[in-house]
Symmetry: C2
Subunit: 232 residues, 2 copies
């Protein structure tokens, strides 16, 4: 039982800031590729699509890495943000569920590029097991625990059907994993100390539909409260 003691050294970077750091990092990498040496908060904010004051406050949480009158050193800032995000080390990721989405994820180049290494592909379907995808052979879901332990997997991506997600979730947590990226359209129940991030295509579309409807109507129309024929 490890009780988390709030560290004095814990600088407590706000969640909202953490969520934006990858954005800055991407913009900075683009600039580095184009040979840009230093960048002002104004320019970087523009590239990342945020307010420049917000950017400066975000970066100030990492430390005082800018130079007044000049801006930020691109390479230096890339290193600092990478270190803060933990990208200077290598993370072993396992993908559970090799359907259409799992395949897409396995083939997604963005993973490998920055500190994330796919260490395992698992599926319960015997027809899929043994298939070679993105250089890996798909293993049977029964191997889940052993794959996690033997290969030091610390992040698991769940891309299974909704019905299997909670069960997979329970198993990976029992195997010691505390970081999960969930693509299945269910709310996963997890104990304290486990981080779950959710990506839900259907929810994103529904949010867009809401705003689209607003734009079209200027708000929901008079709206009969309940359509004819529906029994309450």
């Amino acid at each position: 039982m490890t009780r988390r003691i709030p560290q004095a050294r814990d600088r407590g970077i706000p969640d909202a800031t953490v969520a934006r750091l990858p954005l800055y990092l991407r913009a900075l990498n683009g600039m580095a590729e184009r040979g840009v040496a230093t960048v002002s908060s104004e320019d970087l904010a523009l590239a990342a699509g945020v307010n420049s004051a917000k950017l400066r406050k975000d970066l100030s949480h990492l430390g005082s890495y800018g130079t007044r009158g000049v801006g930020y050193d691109v390479q230096y800032l890339i290193y600092q943000i990478s270190r803060e995000l933990g990208l200077t080390q290598d993370w072993a990721v396992a993908i559970v569920g090799v359907g259409n989405l799992g395949r897409a994820l396995a083939n997604y180049g963005g993973f490998a590029t920055r500190g994330f290494r796919i260490a395992g592909l698992l599926d319960a379907d015997p027809q899929v097991v043994g298939e070679r995808i993105a250089g890996l052979v798909v293993e049977h879901a029964d191997e889940l625990e052993s794959v996690i332990k033997k290969r030091g997997v610390s992040i698991v991506v769940i891309a299974t059907p909704a019905t299997a997600a909670q069960q997979v979730c329970d198993r990976v947590i029992a195997a010691g994993v505390t970081s999960i990226l969930n693509f299945a359209p269910v709310v996963l129940a997890v104990p304290d100390g486990v981080d779950v991030r959710k990506v839900d295509l259907s929810i994103e579309l529904q949010i867009l539909a809401f705003h689209e409807q607003r734009k079209a109507n200027g708000g929901p129309i008079m709206a009969e409260e309940w359509p004819d024929g529906v029994v309450m």
Copy 2:
């Protein structure tokens, strides 16, 4: 039927609330399938993974649809949330970019189920054009504007490589689309009035890595500020 007119034109359901409505809707649909007739805010909140007070406040933005001492009528609430989100109408969606991700999206059942209809699949690669996926024939990206106009597409999903995303974005906006779901890892520049929602796998992983590192270290240790050999 006495109908209380939604107050003052509902001029603002908070964004945070809108983002949660699809969650409630999903939980409610599950309950409806299991034959549940009414549900308390406590139970629904549990199923959706939120605080019950928050749930009640969220629902109160739609109107006063609960019954004190009883709870909410499941069917009625499903209808009200669906209407608010604009899911009682049919939305034509086009997917641009039929790579691994585009295919996964096209085959994703969750789209069709709830008001979203895939009205077009487009790609620039002649090898992919003509292929049949999820019952649709992939069309050439040149047809983008005509597909949007002829089929009344109002939501576009961009699943192209990063390099093509902005160009596609500009074209669909020029064609009148104002709702975009972007999977490409770039910040899209759009004029006011256009809604862009972004799904970024790499960013989600980086956020997980940050927390995972925190759990392992209790915060970044002493941290040499800059590794040896790196030139500033």
